[in-house]
Amino acid sequence: MSRDPLGRPPALILVPACLAVLVLLLPLVVMVASTDLPGLLDQLRTETAREALWLSVSTSTVAMLVALVLGLPLAWLLARVQFTGRSLLRALVTVPMVLPPVVAGIALRTAFGRSGAIGEPLLDATGFAFPYTTWGVILAHVFVAMPFVVISIEGALRSAGTQYDAAAATLGASRWTTFRRVTVPLALPGIAAGMVLGWARSLGEFGATITFNGNYPGTTQTMPTLIYVTRQADTDAALALSLVMLLVSVGVLFALRERWLGVGTT
């Protein structure tokens, strides 16, 4: 390792950092060590596991895209436009982040459940309701993941500054054109980071989903839910499934990081 001209990292920083690594990695490492490989492969072969994994990955991806389509404009509004109540709106938008997931599920239910304020008229009118459907899972994921997307993107937009917007305006660009051709391209790293965060939060989402959507293989049984019910009957199987989920998450996050968050860094 070549010498850093600024000197060695101070111990006062290194020690807590190492502790952080320990706290974060030790449980994962031990979990990996406690699983047996044949058991893992067996689990992967079962249809329930594959179904749950596919459901988790697909709903998380769709939810991330929905959160982007809805969240990017909101983030722009919060970052670029002055209006009364802006701080309040920003605070409210981040509430799902701090809500315990089960509470989030209950909130979703009172609004969109089969006997919910919006859900009941919807059911009566169209025969469709969100609970017990994959759409419901996506809705729950969007609810918990969107705040992450909004906050990340708003941060990126703020730090980019308004000078480029001003330059684009003098060149004749409308706000929409500026948004499309200047603001968004420049904020892309922040947007990508927000999307990754949103996707990761979605993947791990459990409490809101199971409260709002229930659990049924193929439609609403995501990986976390499968792990939860499996644990009641077979802890080893649950452990193997947990490891599968861990590997998928780490794999995707690692791959994404290199490609997306590498923009602008060495």
């Binding site: 089969r114 006997s115 609970p131 409260t211 659990n215 939860y228 019910v229 009641q232 802890t235």
Partner: protein
């Protein structure tokens, strides 16, 4: 004057000691009893706990949860005096991996019923009606789910539920909140829910009885007290409380 001050100061310093009275469990005045029990026993055991506390002048602490979780904890050596589970498998896990004080006793049974919202919007009258409704039951991996599966098989019902809930309280909750037209829960849950649900009995559900087991634990620090609890549960008084809550005889 100085003497009074010293006396007062000493008194003040000694006050905290008075508060450290009763957190050792040696069975005499001011002891503690820890009971690990399946969630479905919550209301009944809390009722019995009040009575036990009055009779024995001890504090009864409960840890309610899934039988599987509790059995695992006991097998791992978690502290506790009594274990009560809602199925045999869990009790075997606890029994096999730890020696017991006293025998394992079965003290109650529970039977599956159908519950609907009070106004029964889907007009459910029997299991057969489930086919046209949005209904829920416990997941196969949990005891109440296994019972439900048995009952459904016995009655040749092939209808699929909208959701397989992780425990019976969630199942009940879906019905109470109006998110499901019907749910399969224990008779005791239906009783506990009172006016929030309408109950429909299932003919022949007795063939899929859930039995409840109780035992005092090896790791108990006061085996006499633990046994006293078991005795209360098995007594006439205990029997009455259980029946009022909707449990069947052992």
């Amino acid at each position: 004057m100085e003497k009074h001050l010293i006396a007062a100061a000493t008194l003040v310093l000694l006050l905290p000691l008075a508060a450290c009275g009763d957190d050792d469990g040696d069975g005499s005045r001011g002891g503690e009893l820890t009971v690990l029990a399946a969630s479905s026993l919550t209301d009944v055991f809390e009722e019995l706990g009040d009575r036990f506390e009055a009779d024995h002048d001890v504090e009864v602490n409960f840890s309610f949860g899934s039988s599987t979780d509790l059995a695992e904890q006991v097998a791992d050596g978690a502290p506790g005096d009594v274990l009560a589970t809602a199925d045999e498998t869990s009790m075997r896990v606890a029994v096999d991996d730890a020696d017991l004080n006293g025998d394992v006793e079965t003290f109650a049974t529970n039977v599956l019923v159908i519950v609907t919202p009070p106004d029964n919007p889907a007009g459910i009258e029997s299991l057969a009606d489930l086919a046209n409704a949005t209904w829920v039951r416990c997941a196969d991996e949990v005891p109440c789910g296994r019972v439900a599966l048995g009952v459904l098989l016995d009655n040749a019902i092939t209808a699929e539920p909208a959701s397989l809930e992780e425990d019976v309280r969630s199942t009940l909750d879906k019905v109470v909140s109006g998110e499901a037209d019907a749910g399969l829960v224990y008779a005791t849950d239906a009783v506990a829910a009172g006016d929030d649900v309408a109950t429909i009995e299932i003919p022949g559900a007795e063939s899929q009885l859930t039995s409840y087991f109780v035992t005092s634990l090896e790791q108990s620090e006061d085996s006499e007290l633990a046994q006293a609890w078991v005795d209360l549960v098995l007594s006439d008084e205990g029997r009455q409380v259980l029946t009022d809550a909707g449990f069947g005889p052992p």
